[in-house]
Amino acid sequence: WCSLIQSLSKPSCNSVMMLFSHFQLLIFPELEMNKIFESVCFFFFLVSINFFNHPLSFWSLYTIIHDRFRSIAYLFPSGLFEKKARPFMKHPDEVFPKQRAVQWGPDGRPFHFLFYTGKQSYYSLMHELYAKVLNIEKHQDRLRAKGLFSAEPKQISLGTSRWLTKEELEATLVETISSHDYDRFIQLMERMLSMPYSSLEEEFILRYRQQLEAQSMHQIVPPLQKDEKGVDFSTAEGKRKTSRSSVVVRDCGSGRITINGEDYLHYFPVLQDREQLMFPLQFAGVLGRFDLEATVSGGGRSSQAGALRLAISKALLSFLSETEGEAMRQAGLLTPDPRVRERKKPGQEGARRKFTWKKR
């Protein structure tokens, strides 16, 4: 095994593991698919360790697991436009969809007793669930018999979580279920939760709950710094389409604005762009108070104005209170505009415009 892996120098095919699996099939054609996957995982594991924790300084730069993708792009450069067609290195689980292993033996007899229901994993799950419900009831009866039944036992802390959706359940069971089946499953789970001593099966229940994501990403307020003259200032960046901008807002007292070294009246002769610059300051009511020094590059005049507006709003946050910052967020000043240019499709003249339709 090891000699095989080490003898492999830089292959230059689509997926490193695909190549290896092809290679395997060529040498060992009688191996089954899962054995191949196992070896591929093993190879992946070895490569992760060897390539990226190599003592030689050339690769020791890329020891962090995030840089794995950048280092693959560096080692196997590709001129293909489609990003998904370039060489990549991922865990086989992420690449190959989960498939069900073969469910009957060499004699054709299925392994699972519920195979002929059609949805064996779903029905086995329901059976398991019901068995647990009965188990909890038996436990409760035993406690009542002993007289140790307490009215308020320890409850499961669900926190902010929800039941798995139908799609997620299908993904865990690796088989399709109908919405009726899903409803039944949820009903039974709810019934189990409602029982006082459901904490017995806490681990099982939590397996089928999904944590809700943390609420909206909290706005990172740039820190307020002081320069040599004792003037407060803060820096922030903003972007829109292809423009990137960076702004330094100083608490000077004059209303001067410089963009790329030029006066803003010269840089933005159009009123609309200056209005965009004015919006955050006017919204916060601090029009004549701050001094702005900005740099902007890329894009056209409108997108540069939008990038500057976002940067100004972010920088202003450090001078304003929480409520005012919240008001700005609700006004949409702190949201980067996600609209970018839509790609042109083949067979059409533009992104949406079709060629002229000729009747004949």
């Binding site: 209303g255 030029e262 006066d263 009246l265 009123l271 200056r274 300051l281 006017q282 029009l287």
Partner: protein, 395 residues
């Protein structure tokens, strides 16, 4: 800011009257008594109609030009937008600003036996150079000088509909239309001088027509207006006469040459000859003669000019300094000049302009009359006069 508070205090109550000429010091107590003149209580206006009496105290104030002066002095030679404004507001008001006051003070102190001094207004686009020129010109007119005003030298080097080869010199070109327009305006402006000044030389226009020496200037000008073909040469003759005569002892008049957009004289032109080659401004009679006037080899007057990027040809938008706009040749020809920088409005001037628009009911939008609206206007225009004017135009 205090000016505005003062205006707010003054506006509702008529009892608190103020003496306008002492409005320089704002920190006055609210005088209850004193009924001086029951005039208009505008803090931004001044009643002083004579530019000679304008001083530092009047900076930021608007003064009205008497209608009797406006028609002769500026027959179609004011900037277009300003002309529209005067028609709307029914009055011609100019703001007294520092650059114009500076030039007027130099004009007052100048020695007119020395060669003429050249003054050049320069500044960013829309900062008020032409209006300063008009203010200085009004001073000269009020003093009774002879005004030779070229409203826009750029008009002479572009959009020429008729280009004739010059009758005087074969290498040059004539522009009859522009010359006749200019002669007409000159006639309107300088009516009283036309009969007083006599020509010193004899001019032959064609084999049969000529103007004798000793005939009044008016005749020369009429000749140019009626005989369109020779009008450019008439212009040249007029300029030569005035140049020769202004410094003389017994002349009895001062000459002021005011040219707006003087960088056109040394720039490039977009006029094309028949063989599609570009015409050098030197080859145009009008420009050639005007350049001779710009040389300070004559005395008894002054030359006041402005640079202008707006109408200029082949000049980048960001250029506003004399070296950039005049070019090498122009800078060398204008070499000894007094540059006067014209900045954007200061805070006080901006207040004044804002109050003027409010007074004329030009700002219709209710929000524009509030403090917040004023701050927005300051931000959006960056106190640039022309941008502010365009902004308030649709409010």
């Amino acid at each position: 800011m205090s000016l505005h508070r003062l205006a707010l205090r003054l506006r509702p109550t008529v009892k608190h009257a103020r003496c306008l000429h002492t409005s320089g010091s704002i920190q006055q107590q609210e005088a209850v008594a004193a009924e001086p003149e029951p005039e208009s209580l505008s803090v931004f206006r001044t009643q002083e109609k004579d530019p000679a009496c304008h001083s530092e105290k009047h900076i930021g104030h608007f003064y009205t030009l008497p209608p009797a002066h406006v028609r002769p002095l500026f027959p179609n030679s004011l900037p277009w937008r300003y002309q529209q404004q005067t028609k709307t507001f029914n009055e011609t008001c100019i703001m007294v600003r520092q650059p114009a006051l500076e030039v007027i003070s130099y004009l007052k102190k100048a020695d007119y036996s020395q060669p003429a001094v050249r003054y050049l207004f320069y500044g960013l686009r829309g900062s008020g150079k032409t209006m300063s020129l008009c203010h200085a010109l009004h001073y000269c007119y009020a003093q009774g000088w002879l005004v030779l005003h070229v409203p826009d030298a750029h008009q002479w080097v572009k959009n020429c509909k008729e280009l004739l080869p010059s009758s005087y010199s074969s290498s040059r070109f004539d522009q009859p239309l522009q010359a006749t327009t200019w002669l007409r305006n000159f006639k309107v402006t300088n009516e009283p001088f036309l009969s007083k000044i006599k020509t010193k030389e004899r001019y032959m226009w064609t084999k049969r027509e000529s103007t004798e020496a000793g005939s009044p200037l008016g005749e020369l000008v009429d000749q140019g207006i009626s005989r369109v073909k020779s009008s450019s040469d008439v212009v040249g003759a007029v300029m030569k006469e005035l140049r020769l005569q202004s410094g003389q002892q017994g002349a009895g008049f001062h000459l002021v040459v005011a040219v707006d957009g003087v960088n056109a004289l040394w720039g490039r032109s977009t006029i094309k000859k028949e063989d599609k080659t570009a015409v050098d401004p030197e080859e145009l009679t009008l420009v050639y003669n005007l350049r001779k006037l710009m040389r300070n080899d004559w005395s008894g007057g002054a030359i006041i000019t402005t640079l202008s990027q707006t109408g200029s040809l082949y000049a980048p938008k960001s250029a506003y300094l004399p070296q950039e706009l005049l070019g090498e040749r122009g800078f060398d020809s204008m070499d000894a000049f007094v540059p006067v920088s014209v900045p954007n409005y200061s805070e006080k001037e901006f207040e004044s302009c804002y109050l003027y628009y409010m007074d004329r009911n030009w700002l219709q939008h209710p929000l524009s009359r509030t403090e917040e609206g004023k701050k927005e206007l300051i931000f959006l225009s960056n106190r640039n006069p022309s941008v502010l004017e365009r902004l308030c135009g649709f409010l």
